[in-house]
Protein backbone atom coordinates (compact mmCIF):
# COMPACT_ATOMS: atom_id res chain seq x y z
CA UNK A 1 0.00 0.00 0.00
CA UNK A 2 2.80 2.29 0.94
CA UNK A 3 4.52 1.17 -2.21
CA UNK A 4 2.82 3.72 -4.43
CA UNK A 5 5.66 6.10 -3.76
CA UNK A 6 8.19 3.45 -4.71
CA UNK A 7 6.21 2.56 -7.82
CA UNK A 8 6.16 6.20 -8.79
CA UNK A 9 9.90 6.39 -8.30
CA UNK A 10 10.36 3.53 -10.73
CA UNK A 11 7.82 5.01 -13.11
CA UNK A 12 9.84 8.21 -13.30
CA UNK A 13 13.26 6.55 -13.36
CA UNK A 14 15.09 9.42 -14.98
CA UNK A 15 13.48 12.00 -12.76
CA UNK A 16 14.29 9.99 -9.67
CA UNK A 17 17.87 9.43 -10.80
CA UNK A 18 18.35 13.14 -11.43
CA UNK A 19 16.84 13.88 -8.06
CA UNK A 20 19.26 11.54 -6.36
CA UNK A 21 22.27 12.98 -8.15
CA UNK A 22 23.01 15.64 -5.56
CA UNK A 23 22.86 13.18 -2.70
CA UNK A 24 24.94 10.69 -4.69
CA UNK A 25 27.73 13.19 -5.28
CA UNK A 26 27.48 14.63 -1.80
CA UNK A 27 27.77 11.27 -0.13
CA UNK A 28 30.41 10.21 -2.65
CA UNK A 29 32.51 13.21 -1.68
CA UNK A 30 32.02 12.45 1.99
CA UNK A 31 33.13 8.86 1.56
CA UNK A 32 36.10 9.80 -0.61
CA UNK A 33 37.13 12.47 1.86
CA UNK A 34 36.83 10.23 4.89
CA UNK A 35 38.61 7.33 3.20
CA UNK A 36 41.50 9.52 2.07
CA UNK A 37 41.73 10.99 5.54
CA UNK A 38 41.69 7.58 7.15
CA UNK A 39 44.22 6.26 4.65
CA UNK A 40 46.55 9.18 5.29
CA UNK A 41 46.23 8.71 9.02
CA UNK A 42 47.06 5.03 8.85
CA UNK A 43 49.91 5.71 6.48
CA UNK A 44 51.31 8.33 8.81
CA UNK A 45 51.14 5.95 11.73
CA UNK A 46 52.75 3.26 9.60
CA UNK A 47 55.55 5.53 8.40
CA UNK A 48 56.32 6.74 11.86
CA UNK A 49 56.46 3.14 12.98
CA UNK A 50 58.79 2.37 10.08
CA UNK A 51 61.10 5.33 10.54
CA UNK A 52 61.17 4.97 14.24
CA UNK A 53 59.48 7.32 16.62
CA UNK A 54 61.03 10.45 18.09
CA UNK A 55 63.52 10.71 15.25
CA UNK A 56 65.48 13.68 14.10
CA UNK A 57 67.18 13.40 10.72
CA UNK A 58 70.04 15.56 9.62
CA UNK A 59 70.52 15.56 5.84
CA UNK A 60 73.54 16.72 3.96
CA UNK A 61 72.68 19.52 1.56
CA UNK A 62 74.71 19.87 -1.62
CA UNK A 63 75.44 23.56 -2.14
CA UNK A 64 75.96 25.24 -5.48
CA UNK A 65 77.34 28.51 -6.85
CA UNK A 66 78.25 31.23 -4.38
CA UNK A 67 77.11 29.21 -1.39
CA UNK A 68 79.52 26.42 -2.38
CA UNK A 69 82.33 28.93 -2.75
CA UNK A 70 81.54 30.38 0.68
CA UNK A 71 81.53 26.88 2.16
CA UNK A 72 84.94 26.21 0.62
CA UNK A 73 86.22 29.49 1.93
CA UNK A 74 85.06 28.71 5.46
CA UNK A 75 86.33 25.12 5.34
CA UNK A 76 82.94 23.51 5.95
CA UNK A 77 83.20 19.95 4.64
CA UNK A 78 79.43 19.25 4.72
CA UNK A 79 77.93 16.54 6.88
CA UNK A 80 80.61 14.12 8.05
CA UNK A 81 81.16 11.15 10.32
CA UNK A 82 82.93 13.67 12.51
CA UNK A 83 79.63 15.44 13.12
CA UNK A 84 78.22 12.21 14.46
CA UNK A 85 81.12 11.77 16.89
CA UNK A 86 80.80 15.36 18.02
CA UNK A 87 77.07 15.10 18.63
CA UNK A 88 77.56 11.91 20.56
CA UNK A 89 80.17 13.60 22.73
CA UNK A 90 78.18 16.79 23.30
CA UNK A 91 74.78 15.22 23.78
CA UNK A 92 75.23 12.07 25.84
CA UNK A 93 71.52 11.95 26.63
CA UNK A 94 70.51 11.06 23.08
CA UNK A 95 69.02 7.59 22.85
CA UNK A 96 70.60 6.47 19.63
CA UNK A 97 72.66 7.99 16.90
CA UNK A 98 73.83 6.77 13.53
CA UNK A 99 75.58 8.27 10.56
CA UNK A 100 74.15 6.98 7.31
CA UNK A 101 75.92 6.71 3.98
CA UNK A 102 74.21 5.46 0.85
CA UNK A 103 76.44 3.69 -1.67
CA UNK A 104 75.74 3.21 -5.32
CA UNK A 105 77.51 -0.12 -5.70
CA UNK A 106 76.43 -3.55 -6.84
CA UNK A 107 75.82 -6.54 -4.64
CA UNK A 108 76.36 -9.96 -6.13
CA UNK A 109 76.88 -13.59 -5.31
CA UNK A 110 78.18 -16.15 -7.77
CA UNK A 111 77.66 -13.73 -10.62
CA UNK A 112 74.03 -13.13 -9.73
CA UNK A 113 73.22 -9.47 -9.16
CA UNK A 114 69.76 -8.52 -7.93
CA UNK A 115 68.37 -5.13 -8.95
CA UNK A 116 67.23 -2.26 -6.79
CA UNK A 117 69.70 -2.86 -3.99
CA UNK A 118 70.74 0.01 -1.75
CA UNK A 119 73.91 -0.46 0.24
CA UNK A 120 73.68 1.60 3.41
CA UNK A 121 76.49 2.34 5.77
CA UNK A 122 75.18 2.56 9.32
CA UNK A 123 76.43 1.96 12.83
CA UNK A 124 75.28 -0.38 15.58
CA UNK A 125 72.42 1.81 16.84
CA UNK A 126 70.63 2.03 13.53
CA UNK A 127 68.37 -0.96 14.21
CA UNK A 128 67.06 0.55 17.46
CA UNK A 129 66.60 3.89 15.76
CA UNK A 130 64.36 2.43 13.08
CA UNK A 131 62.55 -0.15 15.17
CA UNK A 132 63.93 -2.94 13.06
CA UNK A 133 65.20 -6.35 14.03
CA UNK A 134 67.17 -9.16 12.49
CA UNK A 135 65.41 -12.37 11.68
CA UNK A 136 68.64 -14.37 11.58
CA UNK A 137 72.03 -13.61 13.10
CA UNK A 138 72.76 -10.16 14.46
CA UNK A 139 72.88 -6.54 13.38
CA UNK A 140 76.10 -4.52 12.81
CA UNK A 141 77.92 -4.50 16.18
CA UNK A 142 79.89 -1.78 17.92
CA UNK A 143 83.10 -3.64 17.11
CA UNK A 144 82.12 -4.00 13.44
CA UNK A 145 81.65 -0.25 13.37
CA UNK A 146 84.78 0.49 15.35
CA UNK A 147 87.06 -1.62 13.14
CA UNK A 148 85.29 -1.05 9.83
CA UNK A 149 84.84 -4.79 9.42
CA UNK A 150 83.71 -6.19 6.12
CA UNK A 151 80.43 -7.61 7.41
CA UNK A 152 76.91 -7.01 6.15
CA UNK A 153 73.28 -7.52 7.14
CA UNK A 154 70.89 -8.30 4.29
CA UNK A 155 67.35 -6.98 3.86
CA UNK A 156 64.76 -9.75 3.71
CA UNK A 157 64.18 -9.50 -0.05
CA UNK A 158 67.85 -9.32 -0.92
CA UNK A 159 68.61 -12.36 1.22
CA UNK A 160 65.92 -14.24 -0.67
CA UNK A 161 67.14 -12.96 -4.04
CA UNK A 162 70.74 -13.97 -3.35
CA UNK A 163 70.29 -17.17 -1.39
CA UNK A 164 66.76 -18.36 -2.07
CA UNK A 165 65.71 -20.73 0.67
CA UNK A 166 69.32 -21.34 1.79
CA UNK A 167 70.65 -19.87 4.97
CA UNK A 168 72.65 -16.72 4.18
CA UNK A 169 74.40 -16.62 7.51
CA UNK A 170 78.22 -16.82 7.40
CA UNK A 171 78.19 -16.82 3.60
CA UNK A 172 79.95 -14.21 1.53
CA UNK A 173 78.61 -11.66 -0.91
CA UNK A 174 80.51 -9.33 -3.18
CA UNK A 175 79.78 -5.65 -2.59
CA UNK A 176 81.47 -3.54 -5.23
CA UNK A 177 84.91 -5.13 -5.48
CA UNK A 178 85.04 -6.41 -1.90
CA UNK A 179 83.94 -9.59 -0.20
CA UNK A 180 81.64 -9.09 2.82
CA UNK A 181 80.55 -11.68 5.38
CA UNK A 182 76.83 -11.98 6.01
CA UNK A 183 76.25 -11.75 9.77
CA UNK A 184 72.48 -11.22 9.79
CA UNK A 185 69.26 -11.07 7.82
CA UNK A 186 66.60 -8.46 8.59
CA UNK A 187 62.95 -9.15 9.34
CA UNK A 188 60.62 -8.22 6.53
CA UNK A 189 58.93 -4.85 7.01
CA UNK A 190 55.79 -3.72 5.30
CA UNK A 191 56.57 -0.65 3.27
CA UNK A 192 54.12 2.20 2.87
CA UNK A 193 54.66 3.65 -0.55
CA UNK A 194 53.80 7.23 -1.39
CA UNK A 195 52.92 9.81 1.20
CA UNK A 196 54.90 12.77 2.43
CA UNK A 197 57.98 10.86 3.40
CA UNK A 198 59.64 9.35 0.39
CA UNK A 199 60.21 5.78 1.44
CA UNK A 200 62.51 3.32 -0.22
CA UNK A 201 61.85 -0.36 0.00
CA UNK A 202 64.04 -1.09 2.99
CA UNK A 203 63.63 -4.81 2.43
CA UNK A 204 66.16 -4.31 -0.37
CA UNK A 205 68.74 -2.61 1.89
CA UNK A 206 72.13 -4.13 2.60
CA UNK A 207 73.69 -2.72 5.77
CA UNK A 208 77.43 -2.45 6.29
CA UNK A 209 79.34 -0.55 8.99
CA UNK A 210 79.50 3.12 8.05
CA UNK A 211 83.23 3.11 8.76
CA UNK A 212 83.64 0.30 6.24
CA UNK A 213 81.60 2.29 3.74
CA UNK A 214 83.90 5.27 4.19
CA UNK A 215 87.06 3.20 4.12
CA UNK A 216 86.31 0.81 1.26
CA UNK A 217 84.23 3.05 -0.93
CA UNK A 218 85.94 6.35 -0.31
CA UNK A 219 84.82 9.39 -2.20
CA UNK A 220 88.22 10.96 -2.92
CA UNK A 221 86.82 14.53 -2.79
CA UNK A 222 84.90 14.08 0.46
CA UNK A 223 86.45 11.15 2.31
CA UNK A 224 84.50 11.64 5.52
CA UNK A 225 81.15 12.62 3.97
CA UNK A 226 77.90 10.97 5.17
CA UNK A 227 74.45 11.52 3.68
CA UNK A 228 72.48 11.57 6.87
CA UNK A 229 72.74 11.43 10.60
CA UNK A 230 69.77 9.84 12.33
CA UNK A 231 69.12 10.76 15.94
CA UNK A 232 66.60 9.30 18.32
CA UNK A 233 65.59 11.10 21.50
CA UNK A 234 63.88 9.54 24.49
CA UNK A 235 60.43 11.09 24.20
CA UNK A 236 58.27 13.07 21.84
CA UNK A 237 58.44 16.23 23.94
CA UNK A 238 62.21 16.53 23.56
CA UNK A 239 62.26 16.12 19.76
CA UNK A 240 61.91 19.81 18.95
CA UNK A 241 64.17 21.15 21.74
CA UNK A 242 66.83 18.58 20.86
CA UNK A 243 66.65 19.53 17.21
CA UNK A 244 67.31 23.17 18.20
CA UNK A 245 70.32 22.20 20.27
CA UNK A 246 71.65 20.05 17.42
CA UNK A 247 71.13 22.92 15.01
CA UNK A 248 73.10 25.26 17.26
CA UNK A 249 75.97 22.81 17.64
CA UNK A 250 76.17 22.13 13.90
CA UNK A 251 75.82 25.80 13.04
CA UNK A 252 78.89 26.51 15.10
CA UNK A 253 80.97 23.58 13.86
CA UNK A 254 80.01 24.26 10.22
CA UNK A 255 80.91 27.92 10.73
CA UNK A 256 77.49 29.17 9.77
CA UNK A 257 77.33 27.28 6.49
CA UNK A 258 73.95 25.69 5.94
CA UNK A 259 75.13 22.59 4.17
CA UNK A 260 72.84 20.47 6.31
CA UNK A 261 69.13 20.35 6.95
CA UNK A 262 67.29 19.12 10.00
CA UNK A 263 64.11 17.19 9.34
CA UNK A 264 61.67 15.95 11.94
CA UNK A 265 59.54 13.19 10.39
CA UNK A 266 56.82 13.53 13.05
CA UNK A 267 56.57 17.21 12.19
CA UNK A 268 56.42 16.46 8.48
CA UNK A 269 53.56 14.10 9.10
CA UNK A 270 51.76 16.60 11.27
CA UNK A 271 52.23 19.13 8.52
CA UNK A 272 50.88 16.75 5.96
CA UNK A 273 47.85 16.30 8.15
CA UNK A 274 47.40 20.06 8.17
CA UNK A 275 47.49 19.96 4.38
CA UNK A 276 44.96 17.19 4.65
CA UNK A 277 42.72 19.56 6.58
CA UNK A 278 42.64 22.02 3.68
CA UNK A 279 41.73 19.15 1.42
CA UNK A 280 39.01 18.15 3.89
CA UNK A 281 37.58 21.66 3.89
CA UNK A 282 37.44 21.67 0.09
CA UNK A 283 35.88 18.22 -0.11
CA UNK A 284 33.56 19.00 2.79
CA UNK A 285 32.35 22.13 1.01
CA UNK A 286 31.73 20.18 -2.18
CA UNK A 287 29.87 17.57 -0.16
CA UNK A 288 27.79 20.14 1.71
CA UNK A 289 26.93 21.99 -1.49
CA UNK A 290 25.98 18.78 -3.30
CA UNK A 291 23.87 17.66 -0.37
CA UNK A 292 22.15 21.04 -0.21
CA UNK A 293 21.43 21.01 -3.95
CA UNK A 294 20.41 17.37 -3.69
CA UNK A 295 18.14 18.07 -0.75
CA UNK A 296 16.45 20.96 -2.52
CA UNK A 297 16.05 18.74 -5.60
CA UNK A 298 14.39 16.08 -3.50
CA UNK A 299 12.15 18.65 -1.88
CA UNK A 300 11.16 19.96 -5.28
CA UNK A 301 10.33 16.51 -6.60
CA UNK A 302 8.38 15.66 -3.49
CA UNK A 303 6.37 18.89 -3.71
CA UNK A 304 5.49 17.99 -7.29
CA UNK A 305 4.60 14.49 -6.18
CA UNK A 306 2.39 15.81 -3.40
CA UNK A 307 0.48 18.00 -5.85
CA UNK A 308 0.23 15.17 -8.37
CA UNK A 309 -1.19 12.89 -5.72
CA UNK A 310 -3.57 15.33 -4.09
CA UNK A 311 -6.54 13.18 -4.88
CA UNK A 312 -4.87 10.08 -3.51
CA UNK A 313 -4.22 12.00 -0.31
CA UNK A 314 -7.93 12.93 -0.14
CA UNK A 315 -8.97 9.32 -0.65
CA UNK A 316 -6.60 8.07 2.02
CA UNK A 317 -7.85 10.71 4.43
CA UNK A 318 -11.49 9.77 3.72
CA UNK A 319 -10.92 6.13 4.58
CA UNK A 320 -9.16 6.86 7.84
CA UNK A 321 -5.61 8.12 7.30
CA UNK A 322 -4.68 10.77 9.85
CA UNK A 323 -2.49 13.76 9.14
CA UNK A 324 0.29 11.87 10.84
CA UNK A 325 -0.20 8.85 8.54
CA UNK A 326 0.11 11.05 5.46
CA UNK A 327 3.12 12.85 6.92
CA UNK A 328 4.77 9.51 7.61
CA UNK A 329 4.01 8.20 4.15
CA UNK A 330 5.67 11.09 2.34
CA UNK A 331 8.53 11.32 4.78
CA UNK A 332 9.20 7.63 4.22
CA UNK A 333 9.32 8.16 0.49
CA UNK A 334 11.78 11.02 0.78
CA UNK A 335 13.87 9.00 3.16
CA UNK A 336 13.87 6.16 0.67
CA UNK A 337 15.10 8.38 -2.16
CA UNK A 338 17.77 9.89 0.06
CA UNK A 339 18.95 6.52 1.37
CA UNK A 340 19.00 5.01 -2.11
CA UNK A 341 21.01 8.02 -3.27
CA UNK A 342 23.24 7.59 -0.24
CA UNK A 343 23.83 3.93 -1.03
CA UNK A 344 24.81 4.72 -4.61
CA UNK A 345 26.93 7.58 -3.28
CA UNK A 346 28.75 5.23 -0.93
CA UNK A 347 29.56 2.90 -3.81
CA UNK A 348 30.64 5.87 -5.93
CA UNK A 349 32.75 7.26 -3.08
CA UNK A 350 34.41 3.90 -2.52
CA UNK A 351 35.11 3.77 -6.26
CA UNK A 352 36.55 7.27 -6.15
CA UNK A 353 38.72 6.29 -3.19
CA UNK A 354 39.97 3.28 -5.11
CA UNK A 355 40.66 5.37 -8.23
CA UNK A 356 42.59 7.88 -6.14
CA UNK A 357 44.54 5.01 -4.67
CA UNK A 358 45.34 3.73 -8.16
CA UNK A 359 46.23 6.98 -9.86
CA UNK A 360 47.56 9.17 -7.07
CA UNK A 361 48.82 6.16 -5.09
CA UNK A 362 47.44 7.67 -1.90
CA UNK A 363 46.45 5.24 0.74
CA UNK A 364 42.63 5.16 1.07
CA UNK A 365 40.53 3.22 3.55
CA UNK A 366 36.70 3.09 3.44
CA UNK A 367 35.95 2.54 7.11
CA UNK A 368 32.64 1.22 8.50
CA UNK A 369 32.35 4.47 10.43
CA UNK A 370 32.47 6.44 7.16
CA UNK A 371 29.71 4.25 5.74
CA UNK A 372 27.58 4.74 8.84
CA UNK A 373 28.20 8.49 8.80
CA UNK A 374 27.16 8.60 5.14
CA UNK A 375 23.94 6.75 5.83
CA UNK A 376 23.29 9.14 8.69
CA UNK A 377 23.87 12.12 6.42
CA UNK A 378 21.57 10.68 3.74
CA UNK A 379 18.84 10.03 6.27
CA UNK A 380 19.20 13.55 7.64
CA UNK A 381 18.92 15.03 4.15
CA UNK A 382 15.81 12.92 3.60
CA UNK A 383 14.17 14.03 6.80
CA UNK A 384 15.19 17.69 6.62
CA UNK A 385 14.13 18.20 3.03
CA UNK A 386 11.22 15.78 3.18
CA UNK A 387 9.55 17.44 6.13
CA UNK A 388 8.20 20.44 4.26
CA UNK A 389 6.57 18.51 1.38
CA UNK A 390 5.25 15.90 3.81
CA UNK A 391 3.67 18.63 5.92
CA UNK A 392 2.13 20.14 2.83
CA UNK A 393 0.62 16.74 2.07
CA UNK A 394 -0.60 16.17 5.61
CA UNK A 395 -2.19 19.58 5.96
CA UNK A 396 -4.23 19.39 2.80
CA UNK A 397 -7.92 19.76 3.46
CA UNK A 398 -9.33 16.27 2.80
CA UNK A 399 -12.47 17.54 1.10
CA UNK A 400 -10.64 19.86 -1.25
CA UNK A 401 -8.13 17.11 -1.93
CA UNK A 402 -10.97 14.77 -2.91
CA UNK A 403 -12.30 17.35 -5.37
CA UNK A 404 -8.88 17.92 -6.94
CA UNK A 405 -8.69 16.97 -10.60
Amino acid sequence: MMRIGVKNLFLHKLRTALTMLGVIFGVGAVIAMLSIGEGARRQAVEQIRLLGTNNIRIHHVELGGEAAAAADYRYSPGLTAGDEKMLRAKLPTLCALSAIRFLDVSVQRAGHEPAGVVVVGVNDEYDDLTNSRTRRGRFISWLDARYARRVCVLGAEIARDLFGVQDALDRRVRIGEEEFLVVGVMERKSVATGGVLEMRNINRDVYIPVAAALKRFTDPDFPDRVDEIAVQVSDAASVVPSSRVIDRILEKSHRGVHDYEIVIPDELLAQSQRTQRIFNIVMGSIAALSLLVGGIGIMNIMLASVTERTREIGIRRAIGASERDILGQFLNETLLIALAGGLIGIVLGAGMAFAIHLFASWETVVSPVAVLVSFGISASVGVIFGLYPARQAAQKDPIEALRYE
Binding site: G314, R316, A318, I319, G320, S322, P398
Partner: protein
Protein backbone atom coordinates in the same frame (compact mmCIF):
# COMPACT_ATOMS: atom_id res chain seq x y z
CA UNK B 1 -29.77 7.10 17.84
CA UNK B 2 -26.71 6.39 15.75
CA UNK B 3 -26.63 9.97 14.52
CA UNK B 4 -27.79 13.01 16.44
CA UNK B 5 -27.32 16.47 14.90
CA UNK B 6 -28.35 19.53 16.89
CA UNK B 7 -28.32 23.06 15.49
CA UNK B 8 -25.47 22.10 13.20
CA UNK B 9 -23.90 25.00 11.32
CA UNK B 10 -21.25 24.98 8.68
CA UNK B 11 -20.14 28.32 7.34
CA UNK B 12 -17.58 28.74 4.54
CA UNK B 13 -15.59 31.89 4.33
CA UNK B 14 -14.95 33.00 0.81
CA UNK B 15 -12.79 36.07 0.78
CA UNK B 16 -14.89 38.58 2.66
CA UNK B 17 -18.26 36.90 2.30
CA UNK B 18 -19.74 34.00 4.23
CA UNK B 19 -21.59 31.07 2.74
CA UNK B 20 -23.87 29.31 5.15
CA UNK B 21 -23.89 25.75 3.83
CA UNK B 22 -25.70 24.27 6.84
CA UNK B 23 -27.95 26.47 8.92
CA UNK B 24 -28.95 25.22 12.38
CA UNK B 25 -29.71 21.78 11.05
CA UNK B 26 -31.35 19.21 13.32
CA UNK B 27 -31.45 15.58 12.29
CA UNK B 28 -31.65 12.23 14.05
CA UNK B 29 -31.04 8.90 12.38
CA UNK B 30 -31.53 5.63 14.28
CA UNK B 31 -29.23 2.69 13.66
CA UNK B 32 -30.27 0.49 10.77
CA UNK B 33 -32.24 3.13 8.92
CA UNK B 34 -31.89 3.80 5.19
CA UNK B 35 -32.16 7.54 4.63
CA UNK B 36 -32.12 9.34 1.31
CA UNK B 37 -31.16 12.99 1.19
CA UNK B 38 -32.47 15.03 -1.68
CA UNK B 39 -32.46 18.67 -2.56
CA UNK B 40 -31.36 21.13 -5.21
CA UNK B 41 -27.71 21.67 -5.99
CA UNK B 42 -26.04 23.87 -3.39
CA UNK B 43 -28.53 23.02 -0.68
CA UNK B 44 -25.78 21.58 1.52
CA UNK B 45 -26.12 17.84 0.96
CA UNK B 46 -22.42 17.16 0.37
CA UNK B 47 -21.46 19.41 3.26
CA UNK B 48 -23.76 17.38 5.47
CA UNK B 49 -22.27 14.12 4.23
CA UNK B 50 -18.72 15.32 4.94
CA UNK B 51 -19.73 16.28 8.45
CA UNK B 52 -21.50 12.97 9.01
CA UNK B 53 -18.40 11.18 7.74
CA UNK B 54 -16.12 13.07 10.16
CA UNK B 55 -14.13 14.50 7.26
CA UNK B 56 -15.08 18.01 8.29
CA UNK B 57 -15.91 19.81 11.51
CA UNK B 58 -19.00 21.92 12.10
CA UNK B 59 -18.68 25.67 12.66
CA UNK B 60 -21.20 25.36 15.50
CA UNK B 61 -23.68 22.86 16.89
CA UNK B 62 -23.45 19.34 18.09
CA UNK B 63 -22.83 16.02 16.33
CA UNK B 64 -23.04 12.79 18.28
CA UNK B 65 -22.08 9.67 16.32
CA UNK B 66 -22.68 6.40 18.10
CA UNK B 67 -22.34 8.12 21.47
CA UNK B 68 -19.20 10.12 20.57
CA UNK B 69 -19.22 13.92 20.52
CA UNK B 70 -17.58 14.44 17.16
CA UNK B 71 -17.26 18.24 17.14
CA UNK B 72 -14.77 18.05 20.04
CA UNK B 73 -12.34 15.60 18.44
CA UNK B 74 -8.84 16.23 17.13
CA UNK B 75 -7.54 14.94 13.82
CA UNK B 76 -6.17 11.67 15.16
CA UNK B 77 -9.42 10.63 16.86
CA UNK B 78 -11.47 11.90 13.98
CA UNK B 79 -9.42 9.82 11.55
CA UNK B 80 -9.83 6.76 13.71
CA UNK B 81 -13.59 7.28 13.86
CA UNK B 82 -13.71 7.70 10.09
CA UNK B 83 -11.72 4.56 9.66
CA UNK B 84 -13.74 2.42 12.08
CA UNK B 85 -17.31 3.63 11.99
CA UNK B 86 -17.84 5.22 8.61
CA UNK B 87 -17.66 3.96 5.05
CA UNK B 88 -17.67 6.41 2.16
CA UNK B 89 -18.97 5.79 -1.35
CA UNK B 90 -18.47 8.60 -3.87
CA UNK B 91 -20.04 9.50 -7.15
CA UNK B 92 -16.64 9.34 -8.85
CA UNK B 93 -15.59 6.06 -7.16
CA UNK B 94 -12.30 7.51 -5.90
CA UNK B 95 -10.22 4.39 -6.23
CA UNK B 96 -6.43 4.74 -6.30
CA UNK B 97 -5.31 4.02 -9.84
CA UNK B 98 -1.84 2.74 -8.93
CA UNK B 99 -3.19 0.05 -6.62
CA UNK B 100 -4.89 -3.20 -7.56
CA UNK B 101 -8.53 -3.80 -6.77
CA UNK B 102 -7.59 -5.94 -3.78
CA UNK B 103 -5.11 -3.36 -2.50
CA UNK B 104 -7.73 -0.64 -2.76
CA UNK B 105 -10.09 -2.70 -0.66
CA UNK B 106 -7.33 -3.40 1.87
CA UNK B 107 -6.44 0.25 2.34
CA UNK B 108 -8.83 0.99 5.26
CA UNK B 109 -7.46 -2.15 6.94
CA UNK B 110 -3.92 -0.80 6.58
CA UNK B 111 -4.89 2.26 8.59
CA UNK B 112 -6.73 0.04 11.07
CA UNK B 113 -3.45 -1.79 11.64
CA UNK B 114 -4.59 -5.17 10.33
CA UNK B 115 -1.76 -7.54 9.36
CA UNK B 116 -1.23 -8.33 5.64
CA UNK B 117 -2.44 -11.97 5.53
CA UNK B 118 -5.64 -11.09 7.37
CA UNK B 119 -6.03 -8.05 5.14
CA UNK B 120 -5.84 -10.11 1.98
CA UNK B 121 -8.31 -12.63 3.34
CA UNK B 122 -10.81 -9.90 4.25
CA UNK B 123 -10.41 -8.20 0.87
CA UNK B 124 -11.16 -11.51 -0.83
CA UNK B 125 -14.31 -11.96 1.25
CA UNK B 126 -15.49 -8.44 0.57
CA UNK B 127 -14.88 -8.73 -3.15
CA UNK B 128 -16.73 -12.06 -3.15
CA UNK B 129 -19.64 -10.34 -1.46
CA UNK B 130 -19.88 -7.66 -4.15
CA UNK B 131 -19.44 -10.24 -6.91
CA UNK B 132 -15.91 -9.32 -8.00
CA UNK B 133 -13.85 -12.23 -6.76
CA UNK B 134 -12.26 -12.68 -10.20
CA UNK B 135 -10.99 -9.12 -10.41
CA UNK B 136 -8.67 -8.84 -7.41
CA UNK B 137 -5.42 -8.35 -9.28
CA UNK B 138 -6.88 -5.92 -11.83
CA UNK B 139 -6.33 -2.21 -11.84
CA UNK B 140 -9.39 0.02 -11.34
CA UNK B 141 -9.09 1.42 -14.86
CA UNK B 142 -9.56 -2.08 -16.25
CA UNK B 143 -13.04 -2.26 -14.73
CA UNK B 144 -16.40 -0.86 -15.83
CA UNK B 145 -18.06 1.94 -13.87
CA UNK B 146 -20.41 -0.43 -12.07
CA UNK B 147 -17.57 -2.73 -11.13
CA UNK B 148 -15.55 0.19 -9.83
CA UNK B 149 -18.41 1.30 -7.65
CA UNK B 150 -18.67 -2.23 -6.28
CA UNK B 151 -14.99 -2.11 -5.41
CA UNK B 152 -15.59 1.24 -3.70
CA UNK B 153 -18.44 -0.29 -1.71
CA UNK B 154 -16.30 -3.26 -0.74
CA UNK B 155 -13.64 -0.81 0.43
CA UNK B 156 -16.22 1.21 2.38
CA UNK B 157 -17.28 -1.97 4.16
CA UNK B 158 -13.76 -3.17 4.97
CA UNK B 159 -13.83 -2.26 8.67
CA UNK B 160 -17.51 -3.25 9.04
CA UNK B 161 -18.64 0.33 9.67
CA UNK B 162 -21.93 1.13 11.35
CA UNK B 163 -22.58 3.97 8.96
CA UNK B 164 -22.35 3.88 5.18
CA UNK B 165 -22.43 7.23 3.40
CA UNK B 166 -22.98 7.49 -0.34
CA UNK B 167 -22.95 10.82 -2.19
CA UNK B 168 -24.78 10.25 -5.49
CA UNK B 169 -23.35 6.74 -5.89
CA UNK B 170 -25.28 6.07 -9.08
CA UNK B 171 -24.74 9.51 -10.56
CA UNK B 172 -22.04 8.33 -12.96
CA UNK B 173 -23.69 5.05 -13.89
CA UNK B 174 -26.28 4.10 -16.47
CA UNK B 175 -29.62 3.12 -15.03
CA UNK B 176 -29.16 -0.62 -15.36
CA UNK B 177 -25.82 -0.61 -13.61
CA UNK B 178 -27.24 1.81 -11.04
CA UNK B 179 -29.95 -0.65 -10.28
CA UNK B 180 -27.40 -3.34 -9.52
CA UNK B 181 -25.65 -0.99 -7.13
CA UNK B 182 -28.95 -0.11 -5.44
CA UNK B 183 -29.67 -3.79 -4.96
CA UNK B 184 -26.33 -4.14 -3.25
CA UNK B 185 -27.20 -1.24 -0.95
CA UNK B 186 -30.54 -2.82 -0.23
CA UNK B 187 -28.79 -6.05 0.78
CA UNK B 188 -26.50 -4.13 3.10
CA UNK B 189 -29.53 -2.43 4.57
CA UNK B 190 -31.16 -5.79 5.15
CA UNK B 191 -28.00 -6.85 6.99
CA UNK B 192 -28.49 -3.93 9.36
CA UNK B 193 -26.11 -1.27 8.04
CA UNK B 194 -27.23 2.31 8.50
CA UNK B 195 -27.28 3.98 5.10
CA UNK B 196 -27.33 7.67 4.24
CA UNK B 197 -27.52 8.27 0.52
CA UNK B 198 -27.62 11.49 -1.48
CA UNK B 199 -29.43 11.41 -4.79
CA UNK B 200 -31.25 13.55 -7.31
CA UNK B 201 -33.14 10.56 -8.57
CA UNK B 202 -36.64 9.95 -7.15
CA UNK B 203 -36.36 6.31 -8.26
CA UNK B 204 -33.35 5.80 -6.03
CA UNK B 205 -35.15 7.45 -3.13
CA UNK B 206 -37.87 4.83 -3.37
CA UNK B 207 -35.49 2.21 -1.98
CA UNK B 208 -35.15 4.00 1.33
CA UNK B 209 -37.10 4.14 4.59
CA UNK B 210 -37.04 7.87 4.77
CA UNK B 211 -36.49 10.87 2.53
CA UNK B 212 -34.99 14.08 3.88
CA UNK B 213 -35.34 17.08 1.57
CA UNK B 214 -32.94 19.94 2.06
CA UNK B 215 -33.11 23.57 1.01
CA UNK B 216 -30.57 26.30 1.79
CA UNK B 217 -28.82 24.31 4.46
CA UNK B 218 -31.99 23.34 6.32
CA UNK B 219 -34.30 20.37 6.37
CA UNK B 220 -37.26 21.28 4.22
CA UNK B 221 -39.19 18.08 4.66
CA UNK B 222 -38.62 14.74 6.36
CA UNK B 223 -40.91 11.90 5.31
CA UNK B 224 -40.97 8.24 6.13
CA UNK B 225 -41.75 6.14 3.10
CA UNK B 226 -41.85 2.52 2.28
CA UNK B 227 -43.02 2.70 -1.27
CA UNK B 228 -42.13 -0.81 -2.26
CA UNK B 229 -43.89 -2.31 0.70
CA UNK B 230 -46.91 -0.17 -0.11
CA UNK B 231 -46.89 -1.89 -3.46
CA UNK B 232 -46.32 1.17 -5.59
CA UNK B 233 -44.27 0.13 -8.57
CA UNK B 234 -43.74 3.43 -10.24
CA UNK B 235 -39.97 3.90 -9.81
CA UNK B 236 -38.02 3.81 -13.06
CA UNK B 237 -35.38 1.54 -11.48
CA UNK B 238 -38.01 -1.10 -11.03
CA UNK B 239 -39.01 -0.95 -14.67
CA UNK B 240 -35.47 -1.48 -15.86
CA UNK B 241 -34.94 -4.40 -13.47
Amino acid sequence: MLIDLQALRRVYHMGGSEVVALDELDLQIPAGEFVTIMGPSGSGKSTLMHLLGCLDRPTAGRYVLDGVEVQALQDLELSRLRNQKVGFVFQSFNLIAQLSVSENVQLPLVYAGVRPPERRRRAQELLDAVGLCQRQAHRPNELSGGERQRVAIARALANRPKLLLADEPTGNLDSKTGLGIMKLFEELHQDGTTLVLVTHDPGVAEWSDRVVRMLDGRVESDTSVRLREAGASSGEWREVG
